[in-house]
Symmetry: D2
Subunit: 219 residues, 4 copies
């Protein structure tokens, strides 16, 4: 079974500036390659992604191209640096654009194009904030149609205060971070395979009707 | 295939006080029953759950009994009221006790007893705070061994400020909340079934060794 | 004593699109006007604010002009709509740009230009997420040099799910939101006045030296 | 001017177990002592604090005694260890009990007993989670009547993953953490003094009436 994993790198730094998040992603890509999963990294800020909540915010908006690539993948990993103890503004922008997915539901089943894909999270920073970022992103992934496996994340952070980031700190040699990367990748691949074989049977449109029956029509 | 779903009700109110969270759980139970899934609700505060981070905090601690029931279930739903815009202190206490699961790993595979179970979240409050609670709980579920399906949550909240809670506000007739409940239950059941047929092959112990090879031994 | 309050409106919508957050701000401005405080609203997205962590991200960056206006004010209120149960991506971008303030410290005292200013938060959404946004912004305000009074925030949110936002929902007639606005404005003005009379005596440079004495030089 | 600072230590460990949070508090106490501020540490878990949302949850509840001490202090610092990337369950329990303060308002002014007190936050963990905890606690402090100075917090965290906590990691020699402690203490003392001289003039009852005038009576 051939699988593809896509990484959205939500660094604040445009290419060709060095991105610690990109170095972290490379570490994950090696593990995917071992499992014969094709990978691709998209550095979001190199594209013109408009603020908004739809899948297409009009002329000059590059989100539709990125979304197309996500739809062609089986696994999506949101990778963000930490700023202010939280995911980056670029990662938040991406989360907001994903709301558009609900308008692209299948006419018959009501499933969004992301159903049966799996999602993971990678966070790196010089210090504190990884778990807050992961938490918010897990919520987004689930609501946006992704399934989240066991230990679907990895992160690197250093001691309190300013300090070396992933590359300089040799995060690629940090055992805890690497162990979590192995878990994340193997679990993502397992669930991606399983959902290809046994996709969700949920008929979102049908469930909507059932919910309407037991609810008041006015909010 | 016979499945069991367990709800941990993290209300602050001991029985027989009325719990809005319990009323919300009853609504979910009806949908599980339609799908022939057995259910059980545990009101955590009725038991003596000690503060701590292990699976057994000594004499008088009731957590081991609750954990036993979780292990016997296929689906676990953490249900919490909102206090201070966040999950309840009881829900946080439960999250902390779950850290003990890592010490109960299978000797051979290293998988925790929760692997191949699925997790969901239900949150109710008179106002604001559901998504913060859901986010934190999704992170916990994934790290504690659960798989999180698409739309693995439902919540009820009212307008800003003091106001009626789930029962008085007729949350059981609120369309958005009910629709999400249907999604949650159907998706939980799908993934629970799929993981029973196709359980994780991840050998946690083996991956640990691989991670060690590419990491420095000293932290 | 003459005071000025500045609002940063972090809506995702460019002028002249209708902004619910702007309508909410107008409600607060009326109360400031009663107290003879001058006000100004800046709709951040109408300006070209680059991603980054400094006070000036180079050619075409409009942040320096906004920062100049903040420095000329006594009170700053961050006003954000809710998206994904959290502050907007624009609000996060603003938070990240504020990190530049630490590089503009007074040579002698080490105080940043924001010392002795006070900060508040306003959040509006059709549903859930206000308190998560307020929490993150309070942390930012304190670290970025602002003092936060009692009840330094107000918010409007409606019931769970899609629904009318501030304007359509008549948030301007919602008692809880209005009462909090009155508290916020009166408390902000009190602390702003008090800090004008009794500014912080903290010598940041001096405290740094004291901290160095009791710390190891290498991190 | 004589001031008193009280620390609520929200460790999960009962005395006489070693508490890293307690060691961290001792470091702050030294700085307060330099400024001639009296200090007291309360280890919350050594007392019987019931779950709930009032100032007195009935027989056997020790919260009233702690609340009395808080009322007699000018400065309160919430100190919590990190568990699950967030404040401890004990810290959440304390936050919930503080909701009772609103029922103890002054008849004439409507101010709660905490008005004119200042609040700070201290967080320690072996890794990630400090800023999430600080954010939530800042929100609580402001809503519960406290004023939050500039840099009103300090924290210690180590690298990602299990590792030494404050004492073993020599957090007491960590420059960033110590510098923040100095800032926090000096700023808390400044604002505490200033509010003693110039207390809030806010008449909460009066503002409530003004808000009612511009609001619809039914929610």
């Amino acid at each position: 079974m051939s699988l593809k994993a896509i990484f959205l790198n939500c660094t604040l730094k445009k290419s060709p500036e060095t991105s610690n998040t990109s170095a972290f992603i490379k570490q994950a890509e090696r593990i995917f390659t071992d499992l014969e999963v094709e990978t691709e990294e998209i550095r979001v800020i190199d594209h013109n992604i408009k603020f908004g909540n739809t899948s297409n915010e009009g002329e000059g908006d590059d989100w539709p191209q990125i979304l197309k690539k996500i739809k062609e993948s089986d696994i999506m990993i949101l990778a963000t640096p930490i700023w202010r103890g939280d995911r980056s503004a670029v990662a938040k922008l991406v989360a907001e654009r994903f709301d558009g997915i609900w308008s692209e539901a299948d006419e018959e089943t009501g499933q969004y194009p992301t159903f049966n894909k799996v999602g993971g999270v990678m966070v790196d920073g010089n210090e504190d904030g990884a778990k807050k970022a992961i938490s918010s992103i897990c919520f987004d992934l689930s609501e946006h149609g992704f399934t989240i496996p066991v230990n679907a994340f990895s992160y690197y952070v250093g001691k309190a205060g300013p300090g070396p980031a992933y590359i300089e700190a040799k995060g690629d040699r940090h055992f805890f971070t690497n162990r979590n990367l192995y878990h994340m990748v193997h679990n993502l691949v397992h669930v991606a395979k399983v959902l290809k074989e046994k996709p969700y049977q949920t008929n979102v449109n049908e469930l909507k009707k059932q919910a309407e029956k037991v609810s008041d029509t006015d909010k």
